[in-house]
Symmetry: C2
Subunit: 295 residues, 2 copies
């Protein structure tokens, strides 16, 4: 397959030029049809237009409690771990994320392959899918840090060699999201354009970027223009709600000084027809806990 | 008057003990009556109970534009100023606040003595009033930093020698507040209790505390309990809206990664029957741009 060669044409160049470029999306947003799964025409249309879909209660209260308990256990188990897939807060030992939970944790493995999620993902991506990355995140109360605006695809393309926009993320809320505890903000419609970032990626960028992003950061003028055009939507689902969002949608979240923590399960699905090639940065591949490869 | 001696009893000790104390408020919240000004019984009751009042459009669009223009001019005029009343962002030259604008700027002097504000303040405080502090604030888009939870009174009492809870703040929004651009959050009802803070105040604390507060910070357990009891209200007024809030209400704001800046005019009024004494910290007085004294 041409997509697995390293001679793939770079349709979405980024971190190369010294000025940001707006590149129209070359790929579809929705690959399947209403006959391919549980999403109806209205939902597919909403996803195509806005780049995300929020389901209020795809998981029951009991299932959410089971995931919360698994998250607490994982937090305790990895408290002093020096595994590289356990990522801590900047300047602190507090765990921020634990990666690869679809491989290492039976509860989250089950969730990652749950048909309520996978059937919808397959319908949107129009093919069989594979897991590109999974993690559990904990954004603490009082001191939760912001995540600046970014397109996941920009990173996955440049640093992981994901050739096309045929991937999406699923985020399962394990706590209620309020307007004031740093919920995910999305710029609806922003997934229709690829905004190239300025600056060259340094070696082993992921070691710091998971704590604080320095490269692959969109410029302020582009963000201002995107928000002027599209506004900002906020994902205010309760615990158990599930958000599906396109790999290229611009999103981020503010910090959180309230006592209400936010934790979630985060799984990225990629189409089997969109397998990773060599990173377009020309740098080494990132570790498998960030970008699974089956080759 | 006993209130101007330095032998004043310390009814609200803070930064002395090594565990936080909850001290019931010794002072009224509303000192005046419905006969003393424009606020009706419902508004006075709301303020007494919740500790704040929000007016959607006390100033016209034209007046707001005049203030915004004055703010822009002040920002330019003070760009390279080394006046101590011009406070910059941590690790940056960007101006965060300009103090004492009721003395140094004709537009904001007029606003500070505007009858729409002063009549309401006098009614709540039940006496003539004086200005304790004034400033204009600019919280930039994209990189606006959070303000952690605090009671203003705690600082004014410990560091400025404000003896009793008979003061309030007025904040005039010069931009629209959204849920996602770091609006002011208040814990309604929290003004009925004084939560003493832990840790001794260092000399000249104000030089760093205006950028990042390190002392006079309430403990997480108290904040958690306050929010459990009272919840969180968010001041989502449009440009031109005016918020009145009690000196002792617990408040703070999250950071802001959106392109929408937030700027406001902030004026603190104190009752003439509550004049400052020596700081209860035993340390030197702070400069007049932080705490006006007419003695």
């Amino acid at each position: 397959m041409s997509q697995t060669t390293s001679l793939e044409q770079d349709l979405y160049p980024s971190r190369i030029q010294d000025r940001p470029q707006w590149i129209p999306r070359h790929d579809p947003v929705v690959y399947g049809t209403v006959d391919d799964g549980p999403l109806d025409q209205g939902q597919l249309h909403f996803y195509e237009k806005n780049g995300y879909l929020l389901f209020e209660s795809l998981f029951s209260a009991g299932e959410v409690e089971r995931m919360r308990e698994a998250l607490r256990q994982a937090w305790n188990a990895y408290k002093t771990s020096d595994e590289d897939y356990v990522v801590r807060e900047p300047n602190s030992d507090t765990i921020r994320s634990i990666f690869r939970v679809h491989k290492n944790n039976p509860v989250f493995r089950e969730i990652a392959y749950d048909d309520r999620i996978v059937s919808r993902v397959r319908q949107i991506l129009g093919s069989d899918v594979m897991i590109h990355q999974s993690r559990i995140n904990y954004k603490s109360g009082f001191h939760g840090k912001e995540f600046y605006w970014h397109s996941d695809f920009e990173t996955w393309h440049v640093e992981d060699g994901m050739p096309r926009m045929r991937a999406l993320s699923v985020s399962i809320a394990l706590e209620d999201n309020y307007p004031f505890n740093g919920p995910l903000m999305l710029i609806p419609g922003s997934h229709h354009v690829f905004i190239s970032c300025v600056g060259k990626t340094p070696e082993a960028h992921y070691k710091t970027s998971l704590k604080k992003q320095m490269y692959g950061v969109p410029d302020e003028e582009s963000l201002r223009r995107l928000v002027q055009e599209h506004g900002i939507d906020t994902a205010l689902g309760n615990a158990g709600s599930v958000l599906f969002f396109d790999a290229n949608i611009m999103h981020g979240s503010n910090g959180n000084i309230t006592p209400f923590p936010r934790s979630n399960v985060f799984i990225v699905y990629n189409s089997v027809d969109n397998r990773l090639v060599q990173p377009f940065s020309g740098l080494e591949r990132r570790p498998v806990y960030l970008a699974e490869r089956d080759d």
